[in-house]
Symmetry: C3
Amino acid sequence: MKTLFIGGIKSGKSHNAENYIKKLSGAKPVYLATTEFIDDEMQERIQQHQQQRADDFITVEEAINLKEKIALQEGAVLVECLSMWINNMLYHEKTYEEMEAEIATVMELKQDIVFVVNDVSCGIIPDNKLARQFVDISGKLSQMVAQKCDEVYHVVAGISTKIK
Amino acid sequence: MKTLFIGGIKSGKSHNAENYIKKLSGAKPVYLATTEFIDDEMQERIQQHQQQRADDFITVEEAINLKEKIALQEGAVLVECLSMWINNMLYHEKTYEEMEAEIATVMELKQDIVFVVNDVSCGIIPDNKLARQFVDISGKLSQMVAQKCDEVYHVVAGISTKIK
Amino acid sequence: MKTLFIGGIKSGKSHNAENYIKKLSGAKPVYLATTEFIDDEMQERIQQHQQQRADDFITVEEAINLKEKIALQEGAVLVECLSMWINNMLYHEKTYEEMEAEIATVMELKQDIVFVVNDVSCGIIPDNKLARQFVDISGKLSQMVAQKCDEVYHVVAGISTKIK
């Protein structure tokens, strides 16, 4: 079972995805944090979140090699989030094709996986070239993931609507 | 009965909310304008809108104290809009917690209330710190309001879809 | 039959619209490209796309006079896309009222027409005045088109949801 939650900034996509994965049967679910670049303030927030999640999730971190990391897990895996991973991949000068290839192998894993992605598609086209590139890649990968997922949820104002 | 209409800029969210509240039974509905900062051009547009609404609504204005103002009304109240109110609250250096507390008391009022909020969540994360703060608060309050509302409508291209 | 597909950047709106129009009965559908301003890189991408479409579509180009061009076609017409056309109209200093008038006459044509529009409404209000104007016009025209269409589809992550 593969599932995608897509929604805007502070739309409640993560909260909905966490509730969703907790209801999947089997071993304790895994929270795969894709965060790579963190300052002190962020570090503190991450630790807070991690403590809040401790009862419900096993937290692991991986910024780049999703497939390798997910393959090691027993429980269902929450990828939090794809947008940050795209960001990391761009920083490490990976191409869109490399991202697509990585996601394709992830999709073949036997694990239940729940993806969270930030919808950045509905503003005006950014002036900034890097931002434009990010928006394009985010959109194309979201399409690809959604196509391969069994279920897709669109989250608006904390409310999750099943669109596939 | 509490209801939220959420949609982007010129998505038709206000038009849909106005039609919705006119169908609620009881006294003439109240249009609560949250606008605070207005230049001459805006003043003119506001007066035009007010005249257009005169047959259908009683118009009142309140930039900050929503609960106090709504408690005084007989009819159902259309809060137009929450986004402008967040803006006013930020200008007056109110914290997110104060906004949440105000909305929590509003939600306990017996009146029928229809909220309109601008969905600003689906662009790229803004460079500007104040804009980022606005986007975060807007998203979090929208989630809170939606959670407490009986009905929530997502508006796209003038078409309103019930998502709760 | 008139239909609108609305979605963000790289949301898959065009792909969905193309699949949709191919299933309409009658003569080979027409791909009406509204692109006007193109550099060499864009020219190349356009030609690539055109070749990919050759088996399925007749491609015609028109940046401004939609009604005139669509009236000449036999098959169903895919307007790809309204956002580019708005852009062209603004460049040629056409007013919103002129755009609305043009779309109104287009809507009276007997042809089946499928419109694609980019949803730019859910970011923060742009600083740039021209961008703000574009967002406003895009929203108002999308509402108008959606109101007159028989069917409207909202596209997120490649998944098209019928909202009217």
